[in-house]
Symmetry: C2
Subunit: 364 residues, 2 copies
DNA sequence: CTGAAAGCGCTTACAG
DNA sequence: CTGAAAGCGCTTACAG
């Protein structure tokens, strides 16, 4: 079925059908109506390949998926892919997955681009030394990243979750629940995401008039036994009703194991807050920070729709501004996580045992 | 850049370039060589939209992703999507993700199909009462399912993991490690996947000359506290060196908690085997059955390549045969999981503390 | 506001 | 084995 069938059914020419689809304002209301009726009757949908060929754009974006997709970022990216996919129809676009060889990353991007199957890319897992942003910029290819472009603070075109604000929210929640001291279990220095989250811990303490001495922060790589050992060091200093905020749910799992090893009660004696609100958090009744993937996906589509990278701006090293204030589309979005509160941060048995409570972080 | 540019560079006509791409056997070796050289020099890739339009096929398949993607199947499907994506180039195809509204599922499939963006679909999460296979069959649309088509044993076109063989492998492993009794912690009766896995437990026991009395099997829904309680019931009957095989890693996590609650040592006193080899399994040193996603993806692509559903065959109710033995492409694949062995099933501290051991299930 | 023409980049018969 | 022609289903200027 083609546009010609619709034209016949509606009693107009094929060009009029095309206009009804692409430039409806050019048509008489009555004509438009007739065409739409015919389209609905026939269940017509334009052939996308023909549109792509003629328009010389695909309205599609490549989304890299990674076979070694284990580890922390993997799961979050899967969720982000789902939300990007769900929001795609609102932007008359779609996503094509691809899996470049990791030792020929740019070649994989180049190849997909060469087929004309996509106009640009969605990048996840941005990292130090990431070769993709510079290459794409050079090629003039539109893209959006999920995660700040850490090496290039002068670039826009990213969406990210404000881990710092999130962790601060976790600290404030714990203090409000009556835990007297709040410690930090994070990753070793040097990971941009981890350092950002750790800063949120300090923010939360100082904003509440607490002081943080160095003994209240320990670090561990993303490994359960190390995390457990690190948390045990923390417990010795955490007299009275203390709590631990963690950079990830896995680290939080280590904290929980340490608490059990010391015959303490999770929540009642020691509070714990994790990050990412994974299945594990739900299974363990662990309070955890949840990344707002749907808003992030919507922001990412807006950035893609706003087209190419705008001129690099700002002083390198300075924080990218969230709002240019000039009426143009915002090309960065820093979104606050929400806190999913469960028994691990409730000193007394929670009043709402089954209901899940969510509290929105304010980004004042 | 188009085929015309390549033709100019190679000093042939554009049709010859097209032939070099599509019917290389028609060309003189020398000519072919020249064209390939030009293609490489220019980094040419054919425009896919033009190919799709002319060939009247997309060589693309829709992959449904689900916003409520939490839960057990979600993660496995994410991994399957990745492997399908990685294998796609070998079949000159690609995947388009889409997220139909769940209360208008078929409409979502129909709509995507109508755009010509895809030729068919990859279905995950097959279930009782699934409306998709019948509809697709009716439409004559090619598809492959990840998971048997439980309601229609007469249909082929599926790949699945042999949970029954996998669990049997787990049982045999535990017995060989010296655990004297092996119990089952599974899901309530009635889920096809769960019932299949439970049958594997029985297989493993009877094949080794053990008998299974009903008290050695308990069930729990996919919830940690219920699983823990169920495992505790099991522990009372598991005198001596016993073990528990579980239908999922989450149930296994419940078993581990029960073991700790009873002051027993995981592995040393009580062995545990989970299913799916999730992050949690790795974090907890839990031996677990891993689904062979890469072979599954390859089999799925072969099925897609073999085209449409072959005539329904076999007697409904009889098990689908794995091999027609007639030289035709196999349109079903039942793949054995592998066992990732960790400390939870090793009575003595493992000899290879860091190395991960994998044992392949035989499907005799 | 509506209709006839050209063309997006390919592939596939069809003559030579 | 190679070259000229038609056409996949659209959109976009361009006359009327």
């Amino acid at each position: 079925m083609t546009i010609v069938d619709v034209a016949a059914a509606a009693g107009v020419s094929r060009q009029t059908v095309s206009n009804a689809l692409n430039k409806p304002h050019l048509l008489a209301a009555e004509t438009l109506e007739k065409v739409h009726a015919a389209i609905n009757d026939l269940g017509f949908a334009p052939n996308v390949a023909a549109q792509q060929l003629r328009r010389r754009r695909a309205s599609a974006y490549g989304f890299e998926v990674n076979p070694s997709g284990a580890g922390r970022m993997g799961h979050i990216l899967d969720g982000f892919l789902v939300e990007m996919t769900a929001a795609a129809p609102d932007h008359a676009a779609h996503l094509v997955t691809f899996a470049p060889e990791l030792d020929r990353l740019i070649e994989g991007y180049d190849r997909l681009l060469g087929t004309g199957l996509v106009d640009g890319f969605v990048l996840g897992d941005t990292r130090h030394g990431d070769p993709r942003p510079d290459w794409l910029l050079e090629q003039g290819v539109p893209f959006v990243t999920f995660g700040r472009i850490w090496d290039r603070p002068d670039l826009d075109g990213w969406v990210d979750v404000d881990g710092r604000a999130g962790v601060r929210l976790g600290v404030e929640h714990l203090l409000s629940q009556g835990y007297e001291r709040v410690a930090w279990l994070g990753w070793p220095d040097g990971s941009p995401v981890g350092d950002d989250r750790r800063a949120g811990w300090l923010d939360g303490l100082t904003a509440s008039g607490h002081d943080a001495d160095a003994s209240m922060a320990v670090e561990s790589v993303q490994d359960l036994s190390q995390a457990t050992a690190a948390a045990e060091r923390l417990l010795r200093g955490l007299k009275g009703r203390g709590a631990i905020v963690c950079a990830s749910d896995l680290l939080a799992l280590g904290a929980i194991r340490a608490i059990r090893n010391h015959d303490l009660r999770l929540g009642t004696d020691i509070g714990v807050v994790g990050f990412d609100d994974t299945d594990v958090a739900e299974a363990l009744s662990l309070t955890s920070l949840r990344q707002p993937l749907r808003p992030a996906a919507e922001a990412a589509w807006r950035i893609l729709a706003s087209g190419h990278q705008s001129r690099p701006h700002g002083i390198p090293g300075a924080a990218a501004t969230d709002d240019e204030g000039d009426g143009h589309a915002e090309r960065t979005a820093l979104l606050p996580p929400t806190l999913t509160i469960r028994a691990s941060s409730t000193p007394e048995p929670s009043g709402t045992p089954t209901g899940r409570t969510t509290r929105r972080s304010s980004t004042s």
